[in-house]
Subunit: 692 residues, 2 copies
Amino acid sequence: MNQARSAWLAAWAFAAMNAVWLSGAGAAEGMWTLDNLPRAALKDQHGFEPDAAWLSHVRGAAVRVGGCSGSLVSAQGLVMTNHHCVTRCLAELSTPQRPVKAAGYLARGPQEELACAGLEVLQLQSERDVTADVQTATQGLQGEAFQKAEDAVRARLARECQQGQAATRRCEVTVLYRGGQYVLKQYERYSDVRLVWVPEDAVASFGGDPDNFNFPRWCLDVAMLRLWRDGKPVNTPVHLRVEPAGPQAGELLFIPGHPGQTQRSLTVAQLERLRVRLASQDIPALSESRGLLHQLAQRGEPTRTWALQSMSGTENGLKVSQGQLQALFSPALWDLKRREEQALKAHVAAKPELRARVGDPWADIERAQALRAELETEYNLIAEGRAFSAPQFQSARILVRGPVERAKPDGQRLREFSESSLSVMERRIKAASPMDLTFERERLEWSLTRMRSVLGPDHPVVKTVLGTKSPSQRAGELITESKLHDATERARLWDGGAAAVDASADPFIALVRTTEAHARGLRERFEAQVLAVERQAAQRLALAQFDRDGLNRYPDATGTLRLSFGTLKGWQEGQAAVGTHTTVAGLRARHTGAAPFAMPNSWTTAGLALPHELPFNFVTDHDIIGGNSGSPMINRQGRWVGLVFDGNRHSLGGSFFYDGALNRAVSVHPAVILQALQRVYGGQGLAQELMR
Amino acid sequence: MNQARSAWLAAWAFAAMNAVWLSGAGAAEGMWTLDNLPRAALKDQHGFEPDAAWLSHVRGAAVRVGGCSGSLVSAQGLVMTNHHCVTRCLAELSTPQRPVKAAGYLARGPQEELACAGLEVLQLQSERDVTADVQTATQGLQGEAFQKAEDAVRARLARECQQGQAATRRCEVTVLYRGGQYVLKQYERYSDVRLVWVPEDAVASFGGDPDNFNFPRWCLDVAMLRLWRDGKPVNTPVHLRVEPAGPQAGELLFIPGHPGQTQRSLTVAQLERLRVRLASQDIPALSESRGLLHQLAQRGEPTRTWALQSMSGTENGLKVSQGQLQALFSPALWDLKRREEQALKAHVAAKPELRARVGDPWADIERAQALRAELETEYNLIAEGRAFSAPQFQSARILVRGPVERAKPDGQRLREFSESSLSVMERRIKAASPMDLTFERERLEWSLTRMRSVLGPDHPVVKTVLGTKSPSQRAGELITESKLHDATERARLWDGGAAAVDASADPFIALVRTTEAHARGLRERFEAQVLAVERQAAQRLALAQFDRDGLNRYPDATGTLRLSFGTLKGWQEGQAAVGTHTTVAGLRARHTGAAPFAMPNSWTTAGLALPHELPFNFVTDHDIIGGNSGSPMINRQGRWVGLVFDGNRHSLGGSFFYDGALNRAVSVHPAVILQALQRVYGGQGLAQELMR
């Protein structure tokens, strides 16, 4: 990384190195950026000092796989991630003749590797602090003007970095410390990603929703992919080698990965608002969806498969939200957050010069929460489109907005239409994405019904959308009469631009047109009066925090590369001690024969050859969150000793704080991956590639 | 009413009359017991002094109809209540040839009146304060011993009152002020209740779930029943006559009714716990059920009808819970409750003699909440049986417990098996109650799945219940192999006692047997360590309140007769003023032709004869809550001027406090009932009976 920092950050960069640990920080707390590791702690507690070569090796081998993490694990472009990170690809590749998801898949040679159409792998090439650029562009601006200027400078920086090479390069400006730092990241982009191996769904997600976020656990949650380019596998000299013995007791272990999102630096007012939203909107909506999908999964194929596919995401989201809500009902959390907030307020109050620069960001944020409460429901339903739960609606909105936005200068567009994002959007809109129209009809009807429930039958958008029709009638006609499920039609409208879109009588296009003014208005208002206010206040909070703590602080997770560290560690669950490892014997004991506790046939036949004591899954005290799925766990030699796929249920509170006594990451042991490949799946060649 | 009071209440009975209004009490606040009306306020504000004759007339005409309210409205036993209070009866009476629920029904003469098998009407005959009896029996006891002694004395009082005349008499001990007062109530019991008239579902619940708890509103939510005994209609000389002009502006109006349950006297700790429960358990469960039923309602008949029937209760419950949660997220509520709690604490602290008797009930309740948090989920699922959502399970539990409990002395039984309750239970278990096995199978599978989700697959009861089966397999075999859907089989097992039950191999009976020890253990622990502690603490809180306020306070609602008063009043909703009345013109404007906004055919044909300006529904500022549905609204002449059927959405916060600016009751105007009967439904005879 280019170490040039903005001036106002640089002042604390060195002071931070020996600062004391922050209050509440556990031994393994932190999702650290690679340029700001807690070096003193690593050295003091573990005698480890990562050098430039070590960091460069880790940075080169850790990749982003869609919304998950992954790693390069051979010199031939082999990428390891989780089975649950590629289920959409598996569902799309599955046919009655080749049920990839249910039966698993092993490519016997490169020619049998199957392309995952929608999947993209990003590998970080370089990064640069651009805080100063953003500050210059936004200086003195507020609200909407600030938002637009920030969008414009980010779009420009990304476009300049990308240099028109969108097919193989992706550039993004990442916002760290909720606005305290801006970093321009340049990724190598791999869009020809092929499936090499997955085991059966039944063993990859053994225990299903009941065991999700629990431990002990027995999931072979692994998928092997390969990067291709120009018709052949990519050479990847930088990659991780396996340590088949797995992690050792007491050994310092690292997880390089891409944790998606945490809310640890939210103010008390923001957390209070988030609690209301989770309890009043998110959890009820997810619960209702779960009940709906439970029934839809009893329909015939292919509706059943799509319902089950959607169900796993819904149930996962529900557990996450419920875990977060539980944390937000814990008095301990509020004590901690109030104490932290008071301490920072006191720090600011005590320094007049700082106080002049920081002001009262807490009050600004609190005011923004009142507006958030007023707008958020409508914003989510109409501006984000949750009221219209059909891929055709999302396509229609992109198709209607595309010509309008592309006609504007880059910096003035809605940010998803900025020059650097256009190729991703174009690829997505033109990609063949199979869907089941029965499933889409049912889900759309439900989302329209819910919109009417939540906004009421007299809301202007509800009246416009439904007219004199019931949600069932309206969903039926939209799905039946639209052609937007067809990629050819979407491509025709994208390529045809304004003329083609204006001429289209597609009912989803018409629906977008009639709701567009309201949707855009909501978005503009929400971004200018809520998001921009929160962003600017957060920048001033960051200023106060840097002033007090220097850089001895990690930013909230942002889906970008971080390093967590920890060791093998069980925990105390009430009266019971939970151990670190499970073995194949435990899987056999938990097998009932009824899903989700049924081993696949391969495990009740060839799998019997695996020894009882073969390690299966294990837990460590790393600080991780959703998005870390698929991360490698590595030792100080840089070898991978595990594949992260989950956290325990306590880790769900990790959105807000890390509790070293309880939060655990759950990983697959390398031994079970290698042994299963060799003895159960006939994957000797792949195992050799991993061990080479 | 027998005016004898317990000694410790009597001291304040007269002092109360001129006491000041309590803080926070609005002009129309209060669900008053008839022996403790706010006479001073009624006289001062409205110049009205109800005399004994007025009260006796009201008491005689107001009846309980299942979980709803109702009133006698002719001398021939005619009872008026809401359509939505009798939907279960309507569903059971409906056949493809006679779709009572969808098409409405009018009996042309007594011989066409249809018996509502499960419905019971109770009419209060007398009541007596028995606080002293309960205090004597429970003196010095704590926890389980207290609970058992209280159960025993209540069972004895009810049994002695009932004098073996269970067929026509029902006696209950009602607990007022959460234990501050016990009242023995004797009701005349009518169990031959017949349907006389209902309009179509489409106009009774016009607007459906979207309009529920909203206003403006257009629901002809009325049902007319008749009490029969010994093969002929019952003579009811005490009854309400109609005032066809309806309520007048400014006129003092009364609602005698049976509000079900409020939580206004809960402590801050109890409200906090309730909020967690609503957000984490009740609302997610109701939401999930809603999604499930949404899909089940798309199956063929009769599953569709049962799903829709269940849906209206689920959606209603969900709106209530969400309204309560919204109130519990309002800072104003917490300010009010904390202030009230502090004030009462201060009052106790200032009087050493009182302090010695009251102690610190707040702390006891707070400790009980911690245990509630630990036990409540499991208690609800297993002890209350929500994990086994099938009527067959509830029947099986009664059948298994019946012989065990009936062998014990009355005072030692589970309270639902006390001598005074047995006949109700026997009638219920032997009643033919139609059900759809497909619907029950789906709902049972869902509730088993949810049990496993919530308790986890390793919970001992989950393991016992599911074994190696999936919820789907287990629900399938239970529903298919059980015979408990058949009333004959249930009667055989009830009458056969222990021998018959022990010999039964019915899978639901077996399921109850294997979970019985765990279920009873949970119930005992929850009742002794949570409910009894809360009850005893609440008694001490009541003592403190009586000491400060005398009886100038109404008890929380308990499903027993209360009187609310108020006047016609609209309200301010944000920027908009909401008026007091709707008219037929509004209904016609809201009609789209698509359910739930479709008038039935009768209204688009014969109904066109009704004048545009005919009043339909109206709002008043009475303090009501669920259970008040079906209450008459009467004027000071004792004539009925409206039929209460709902509250506005603000009234949902009425569980916790009354806000006179916003809370409104919604009623049907008598003019639309009479005119519709005469001009739309051919019910001239019935209209004449009402106006006689």
